[in-house]
Subunit: 415 residues, 2 copies
């Protein structure tokens, strides 16, 4: 499909004004769910959707869907849905979300202006609260649309000041009453920035995602004994930090071993606290938050098992007490073969260099993939930076990826 | 020497009222230098010193000395000085400092009431700011009395609110103008609680310290690269926390090896920070504060060398950057043979079970030992607890240790 790169750039640039933040380098925005910036971004999107003749509806959690029912199609056929999100992390970038949302708009415009006669309606979607910065849970809107979470539960979530999602959506006029059910879609497509460097390294313009990792989070606590760092001999200590250090190296070794079989497997201790954290006291307790990911759930289980074995060994060898609580566990998602095949065909048609890859970050598409055929495309991220004003995707790369998205939508809507 | 245990107990109990804090368990006090509680404790001590006929003087940094010049002595002879400190850490115990100060008072009272005819004046001393909680530097008053720090430097030190030591001493009326020079003392003795369990384990009533450890503090920084914990493959990471964990284990191993030769050798990473400390970001930087102690300075140097070797190896193997800054290095102190011999004789005379041991904590005596013959005695600490309201020494143990102190003072003042 031929797309209009200038129009896409104008959309993303204008959207970037909402919640824009000063940044020394790059271009940043803060668009938290239910904020004025969120309202402005939503209103502009709806204006554009209505301008191109889409019938817009908003559901209880603020998800927006605009449906185009081409004269050529069976209006009762299950639609092909395509989109992303408009919210951002605090001080986020201007492409993470908006590229996929406005690329979806551009895909519809491109098909409308072409000679194509789609057999199915096409629905442009923008999900609420993908980033989770304000209400604590990411990919929130899509979890409701895909039936994994009840709307009332989502609406009752509170921000740090006790304001509920419901109140915040009512305030900005986006507590809707329509139904948006991802299970009714024939297929779903999302374009997103890669947030990594694999596309750049492969000199590819588009990434065709075959799976999205699952994520397990664990809280590990290692408890020894607080002692005077001067008067407690080395051999009489139960040093929680020394035990925790052995654990971090065990985790690293286990993740590296599993990664030799499957490069997507990762295990990270990124967050930790030491108590009492005083220079002259042997540490009493260390607590870590672990992040474990892979495209195979079995690998994640094995890595958690290895963590438990390490802790059991430390209890025996170092006399510490330990606990591991696995408080989050999301399954990996497989993209549908039909969507992947359509995307492969699209990049071939457009002579676009593309690679197959997995997504190491979570996306709304993971929720939708549980209820219908889903596909995810990546556009290159300069230096892999995201969640920062330095996040960037060259405009030419935005255009190429949008061209691939539009062609994939065309193929899926033609069946 | 026969001492009056009831009188000693009354002194310590009354002193414990100043700055007393509520505690669920035990009995606590907060006596920061220059506080009202500090003023009250000082005023009570001076009242007691004057009651028993001592000539009291206060120096520029608030150190207090009360001199008894017995009729039997040469008034120009170098005095035997004995004492400790009255300040505490926040929520400290009631014996850490006051036991040694009032045991010194009791020693003078006991000798005064005996048939003894000392050949030298005896001086009871209470040093300012031993704990260092408010002005950041421990054993402050003794460092000035021993000529290791100029009074003007000490007086210019500021607390967290920018109040100088000078201002705080003037406020409580303890910015004196007398001279207290530890170098003029014939000998110095201090009784302190052990803050460890070696006396209890040996069922000994008194510990005769032969050396006080030196302390080296280092700041170690390990810098890797912050990366997305999902999208950065295991083999492309420079994880600062994994490198730091290897360092902590290297430090532990090296300290354990050195401790097999010398049990006083210890090395501790007690305080650390992880940056950015987020669950889904590979750690960029870890910083540790190290505490290294031994009674031999050479061992401390070797342990620092082992730390540097570890860091160099981590730079090569893990591609991290590292630095080690040794920002504090105090030499170990040897107690004088003359003072140790007097204490040995004293415990034999009193049929008191005693052991020889080193001090793993810093004391004013370490400063004084640099300029005159010094001795340090320990009384047992229940469970080794200190710097806590749960710190405790049984009254009988206080009495036994004070008896040993008084006899040691008698012996030293008789030569």
């Amino acid at each position: 499909m031929e797309i209009d790169a200038g129009r896409l750039r104008r959309d993303i640039t204008e959207n970037a004004q909402f919640g824009s933040v000063d940044a020394e380098e790059g271009r940043g925005r803060t668009v938290l769910t239910g904020s004025d910036a969120d309202r402005e971004a939503r209103e502009r999107l709806i204006e554009e959707l209505e301008t191109i003749g889409l019938e817009v509806r908003v559901d209880a959690v603020g998800n927006i869907a605009g449906r185009w029912t081409p004269p050529s199609c069976d209006p009762d056929a299950a639609p092909v849905a395509v989109g992303s999100h408009l919210d951002s992390v605090p001080n986020g970038g201007i492409f993470d979300g908006p590229l996929g949302t406005y690329a979806a708009v551009e895909a519809v415009r491109a098909i409308q202006e072409s000679e194509e006669t789609p057999d199915r309606p096409i629905e442009v979607v923008s999900f609420t609260g993908e980033e989770g910065g304000r209400f604590g849970i990411g990919t929130l809107g899509s979890s409701v649309a895909a039936g994994q979470r009840r709307a009332v539960e989502a609406l009752a979530l509170e921000d740090a000041e006790g304001i509920t999602l419901e109140e915040s959506l009512e305030r900005i006029g986006f507590a809707g009453s329509a139904e948006i059910d991802a299970g009714e879609w024939d297929a779903w497509l999302e374009l997103h920035i890669e947030q990594g460097t694999r596309l750049t390294e492969a000199r590819a313009g588009v990434g065709i995602v075959d799976s999205i990792v699952g994520i397990t989070n664990c809280e590990v606590t290692i408890t020894g004994e607080a002692d005077h760092a001067g008067s407690t001999p080395m051999f009489e200590r139960r040093d929680a930090l020394a035990a925790a250090s052995a654990f971090v190296l065990d985790l690293e070794r286990a993740a590296e071993e599993l990664a030799t079989e499957n490069e997507a497997a990762v295990g990270t201790a990124g967050e930790g606290t030491i108590s009492p954290n005083a220079r002259n006291i042997v540490p009493e307790e260390v607590q870590f938050q672990l992040d474990i990911r892979d495209v195979a759930h079995d690998t994640m289980d094995r890595l958690v098992d290895r963590c438990r074995s390490s802790l059991a060994r430390l209890e025996r060898r170092r006399g510490v007490e330990t606990s591991l609580e696995r408080y989050r566990d999301s399954e990996p998602s497989q993209m549908s073969e039909r969507c992947i095949a359509a995307a492969e065909e699209a990049v071939e048609t457009g002579s676009i260099d593309a690679i197959r890859l997995h997504s190491a970050a979570m996306h709304d598409t993971a929720n939708v993939a549980a209820v219908t055929d889903a596909g995810l495309l990546f556009a290159p991220s300069v230096d892999g930076v995201s969640h920062s004003p330095r996040e960037w995707t060259d405009w030419d790369d935005c255009a190429v990826a949008t061209e691939a998205l539009a062609e994939t939508v065309r193929i899926l809507a033609a069946t």
